[in-house]
């Protein structure tokens, strides 16, 4: 009985396509909801620090004097709470995972526009600048 059951499964597997993907040659399947990594639109950030306050792993650091927004991708647990709390919707969740790293690092620093009251967002203020440790 059981032997027959297993034989059925084995024969089915023999004639069906592999259940696995040839990753990374073939792209991994992702859905619209998948939490991959956090992305920022620096032109819209008002350095309100809501994301920094809400982050459970303290991966985000916002400096409103320097007007920088920094994320440590190694600390980030991709819970998406920053995306939900961001009042200007400048943070978005990309559905692709960030690439694997072979050394320590993962800190991404952006110069952002800053609060709107003081000055309108400069067009050249949206320069993403990456620094490595």
């Amino acid at each position: 009985m059981a032997l027959f059951q297993m034989t059925k499964t084995v024969i089915k597997s023999l004639f069906s396509r592999p259940a696995t993907l040839m990753y990374p040659v073939n792209v991994a399947k992702k859905t619209a909801n998948t939490r991959g990594h956090v992305k920022i639109d620096p032109a819209k950030c008002i350095t309100c620090k809501m994301c920094q306050r809400k982050c459970p792993t303290q991966a985000i650091e916002v400096d409103n004097k320097e007007r920088t927004w920094q994320i440590d991708q190694m600390r980030c647990v991709v819970c998406s709470i920053c995306v939900e709390t961001c009042p200007t919707k400048c943070l978005t969740m990309d559905n692709q995972y960030r690439p694997a790293m072979t050394a320590r690092g993962g800190i991404e620093k952006f110069t952002v526009a800053g609060p709107k009251k003081k000055e309108p967002a400069p067009a050249d203020g949206a320069k993403p600048k990456e620094t490595k440790e």
Partner: protein, 359 residues
């Protein structure tokens, strides 16, 4: 008198997914005593509750375990909601039940796979994990995460499932149920598996009760405890019967898990048919002031979350008693009298999750 020797088992061992150390005292090939040691993956998550706001701590509570993650966050949220007197909308309760059952199924399939692997039954291991992948796909498309869903929050859930997706899930489950029939027949009827499991590591009903066994370990010994019967989340509105086996041996514990897969499918189907329309969350204001014990049924058994707040954003105390922690004393009893070669199989039948046990 035979000379006693001590054989260390773990913390690194091919069958152990996580580190637990057992000193096995042997007489010839028979285990006469086992001394467990834990403390290899302690992370201090309970202490962290003093440093994070109670709403953000949900994500940390979820990361206590990598397999039964969803139910941890669910139980923690239930604690906070009870203290603050928050009424969670019906739809959110049903969604929580659906995701809880998905997480139970994927945990059981993971275990069945690892268990088959520990006996050297590689093809069943591959098939169990192939089926598990379908469930993880459903979880990913509805919540955004494969094993860490991050979808529970204080006052409800963060994501809703569209009616079309619910229908699609229902259809998908029908297909999975058929394939599960084939898979579980192998676990329940195969002669080589029966030879390996029947009569090995017997735990009597009294021992299971006295030593505080929970979950499939207790139900495999005939103790009818299933926290889902208490009716938390939407379980009160669902008809189901806990799976209880009376053998008390490894085979009975394996059978409980195999049969619970179908109970889970049945519960999800009932939930999808009965789910009401409406909002999925309520706004939470203020902070918890008081204490509460919440209990719920994890794939591995009963989990207890204790939360104490003093009216501030940061909680004072969070204590978790996980199922694996309570299942270690029964494990020690189970190991007495088994052959050394059976130890890996016996250890796996309590479904040890050490990350849970040490937090």
């Amino acid at each position: 008198m035979t000379k006693q020797i001590v054989v260390p088992f773990g913390p690194q061992h091919p069958v152990l997914p996580e580190p637990i150390h057992l000193d096995l005292v042997l007489e010839d090939e028979t285990v006469v005593d086992a001394i467990p040691t834990i403390g290899y993956v302690h992370r201090g998550l309970e202490k962290l509750v003093e440093k994070r706001e109670f709403t953000e701590y949900v994500f940390i509570a979820e990361r206590i375990c990598g397999i039964c993650s969803y139910i941890h966050s669910n139980t923690y949220c239930e604690c906070i909601e009870q203290i603050m007197g928050i009424e969670v909308p019906d739809r959110a309760q049903y969604l929580r039940t659906i995701w809880s059952e998905y997480s139970r199924m994927h945990s059981h399939l993971l275990w069945l796979g690892l268990f088959a692997d520990s006996m050297g039954f590689e093809s069943v291991f591959m098939n169990a994990w192939r089926l598990r992948e379908h469930l993880l796909d459903d979880m990913e498309s509805t919540t955004g995460g494969r094993v860490i869903q991050g979808v529970c929050k204080v006052g409800g859930v963060r994501k809703d499932i569209a009616p079309e997706k619910l229908d699609e899930m229902l259809k998908g489950l029908k297909g999975i149920e058929r394939e599960l029939q084939d898979l579980t027949t192998v676990f329940l009827d195969d002669s080589s598996i029966k030879n390996r499991l029947v009569g090995v590591g017997r735990l009597s009903c009294e021992d299971a009760y006295q030593l505080g066994a929970v979950g499939p370990t207790a139900r495999g010994s005939g103790v009818d405890i299933d926290l889902r019967s208490t009716g938390y989340a939407a379980y009160g509105k669902i008809n189901f019967k806990p799976v209880v086996e009376h053998g008390g041996d490894c085979y009975a514990r394996c059978a409980v898990r195999a049969k619970e897969l179908f109970t889970s499918i049945d519960i999800i189907e009932q939930c999808i048919r009965k789910i009401p329309d409406g909002p999925v969350d309520v706004k939470v204001t203020g902070a918890p002031d008081g204490e509460f014990f919440a209990r719920s049924e994890q794939p591995r058994g009963e989990v207890i979350h204790y939360v104490k707040g003093n009216g501030k954003k940061n909680l004072v105390r969070h204590r978790v008693r996980t199922p694996t922690f309570t299942n270690i004393p029964p494990l020690v009893t189970l190991l007495k009298g088994v052959e050394l070669a059976d130890v890996p199989v016996v250890v796996l039948t309590i479904d040890p999750c050490i990350g849970c046990a040490e937090r």
